[in-house]
Symmetry: C2
Subunit: 229 residues, 2 copies
DNA sequence: CAGTATCCCTTATGATACTG
DNA sequence: CAGTATCATAAGGGATACTG
């Protein structure tokens, strides 16, 4: 049953929002991700079929608009006013999640960690001129998938799962959890470094610059000290 | 895939909360509904099997406690501290739902409307001594299921789908939407009455008392005037 | 009564192939 | 590339029967 039959506002909202992937997609749209492919890239594990279905449902529910992309092909998926108004819901949900749901190994897909970095936390204005290619080694993982590349570029950065063909400027040996906690504002880069969880190899200037290319996470302020899980 | 693989707090929270029925069940538990049967009654359409599964998941996620019911048989399902802390999430979600999701006919199961009345909005302290039996006729509906009974009693009220065997003290002809909107604080009883959507037959004193047995809805203050759906 | 195990079916979803 | 239609499959969920 897709319908709860309840007039309660929580039930009405849940009919639309409490579906698999829906909130993830909406989070990204609200964060400025507006194209089909970019949404797909940000959610590995979500099939394009299902993404298409969800976007349809959100449009019919009046939460997003779908309009042809003026520049380039395809559509643009943008929040309606109702969609924008989901901000407080996202904030409440994320605040709760950060406080109460422990960061478990299954939350630490390194590809997602790097994608998030590039999409959410990277401050392109702080990047140096030109292209910086960084290889990330995740030593804790099985050999398959323990190496990823990031291409940092003011005009658009991206994550590659295979050698991108450009020479590596830096190599970073890093624990996926440390990287995630750094993004979340739980630890500083220096703390990760001192704990031996982050190690950067390459030109010292560039190595020192890497952690400065970031914006502050919106979740950093949440106090999980009170948590008793 | 049950897991999003994402460290983002919204994703972590969604893994647990964004499942079918989960928020409905949690809403009820947070509202003081603590037994299996009462939870099942409050969610027609939810099978006991699934309810059982969801309660299990919520316990494992640390959102509720399950403990033997000291009085009576069965268990008590109560919020943990993490569960209590969902209050703001529920509030944000309900506020959004009330503002943006129109009350459609499929939200107006009259059984649910009456159940909600009895469970959420009824102020037992204001009930008169003894038992008051009220039949509700929902004239807009097909013959099947258009009559329901409520037994109002200080020691516990309930909804019956068949004639409960007690003589009716009042008969109410009512539009399900009007009743729901009254509960939500969108209209007053008098407005519903004047619009011909609520009609009470029976002793005038009792008829006048009926709408005074209520508590104020928590959603009443939400301004949907700005909504543009 | 208060659940839970089992079985079976429906629905949801992923893979693939396809189209503008 | 940006999706969408089709189909096979897996997962989710309901009915029933069962247990303390």
């Amino acid at each position: 049953m897709r319908n709860y039959g309840q007039y309660c506002p929580i039930a009405r909202a849940s009919e639309i929002l409490a579906e698999r992937w829906t909130l993830i997609i909406l989070r990204d749209i609200l964060n400025g991700v507006h194209t089909f492919s970019a949404l797909a890239d940000g959610a590995p594990g979500l099939s394009r079929t299902l993404l298409s279905t969800r976007l349809d449902q959100l449009q019919r529910a009046g939460v997003i608009d779908i309009s042809p992309n003026p520049s380039g092909r395809g559509n643009l998926y943008t929040p309606t006013e109702a969609g924008h108004d989901l901000g407080p819901v996202m904030l409440a949900l994320g605040t709760w999640g950060e406080r109460w749901i422990e960061l478990a190994p299954e939350h630490l897909d390194p590809g997602v960690v790097l994608e998030s970095w590039v999409r959410q936390y990277l401050d392109h204005d702080r990047l140096p001129e030109g292209r910086v290619v960084v290889r990330f080694d995740f030593p804790k993982l099985a050999v398959k998938g323990n190496q990823l590349w990031c291409i940092f570029d003011r005009s658009g950065s991206e994550v590659c799962r295979t050698y991108p063909g450009f020479e590596e400027d830096l190599v970073v040996r890093v624990d996926a959890r440390a990287l995630a906690e750094w993004h979340l504002g739980k630890i500083t880069w220096g703390q990760g470094h001192d704990a031996g969880l982050i190690e950067v190899m390459g030109p010292p200037g560039l190595a020192a610059a890497l952690p400065t290319w970031n914006k502050q996470s919106g979740w950093a302020h949440i106090d999980i000290g009170e948590r008793r899980t």
